[in-house]
């Protein structure tokens, strides 16, 4: 994961009982992209971060934050 970026996508997705595939369909990306974001391998664009937040009904800051915050 890039230094300093925390992400709680997996937790939020699990809370809503969504699979990676279901969330991927909701935001229009491949399941691979959701997987890489959850694993911290890939940092999504602002557009995708906003779509993820909207799909999960939370703010972008709830999904992604700087580690010192």
């Amino acid at each position: 994961m890039p230094e300093g970026l925390a992400n709680r996508l997996r937790e939020h997705r699990a809370e809503r009982e969504l699979t990676q595939a279901a969330l991927a369909e909701m935001v229009g990306v491949s399941r691979k992209t959701i997987n890489t974001v959850e694993n911290g391998v890939f940092v999504p664009s602002t557009t995708l971060a906003l779509k993820l937040a909207r799909a999960l009904g939370c703010s972008v800051e709830a999904l992604f934050s700087l580690e010192q915050d």
Partner: protein, 149 residues
């Protein structure tokens, strides 16, 4: 986009991740036959065909790397197969390929001090290193991304 599009993109994306490194190995193995065979300047038609086959394969692989391939699939499936993460992998693969090509250039430059090199041979090595390295890198990143997915 339908659920089928997502499933198709997933299936083809995994397949692409498996196949590209294999293509890279075949592509690099072709180089051995090029350099172990007679020089193309002998003028034999078979040598020209061999060189043309390499050039066609290079162009096809370069285009596949650049836009993801599967040109006969629907626009939706191709868009899913070339989404953000894939584009990031592609950018990284091209960076890796460029670096490999530059390393090959340095090696050939040094080799040129000791042995005369033909322009065609140099182009062959540089392109092969660049495309081969980019293919392997892209395949590796894609496979890692699908792991645990």
């Amino acid at each position: 986009m339908t659920s089928t599009d997502y499933e198709t993109a997933e299936r083809l994306g995994r397949k692409r991740a498996r196949i590209l490194p294999v293509f890279a190995i075949f592509f690099l193995m072709q180089q051995a036959s090029y350099f172990s065979g007679p020089n193309v300047d002998t003028g034999r038609p078979v040598d020209h065909i061999r060189i043309a086959a390499w050039l066609v394969m290079s162009i096809v692989l370069l285009v596949v790397l650049a836009n993801g391939g599967y040109w006969f699939r629907s626009r939706e499936v191709r868009a899913l197969m070339n989404d953000e993460a894939t584009q990031a992998h592609r950018t990284d693969a091209f960076r890796f390929g460029f670096f490999a090509a530059m390393i090959a250039c340095v090696g050939l430059y040094v080799l040129g001090w000791f042995e005369p090199l033909g322009g065609r041979d140099v182009i062959h090595v540089v392109m092969s290193c660049g495309i081969g390295a980019a293919l392997v890198r892209f395949g590796m990143l894609e496979r890692r991304a699908y792991r645990d997915a």
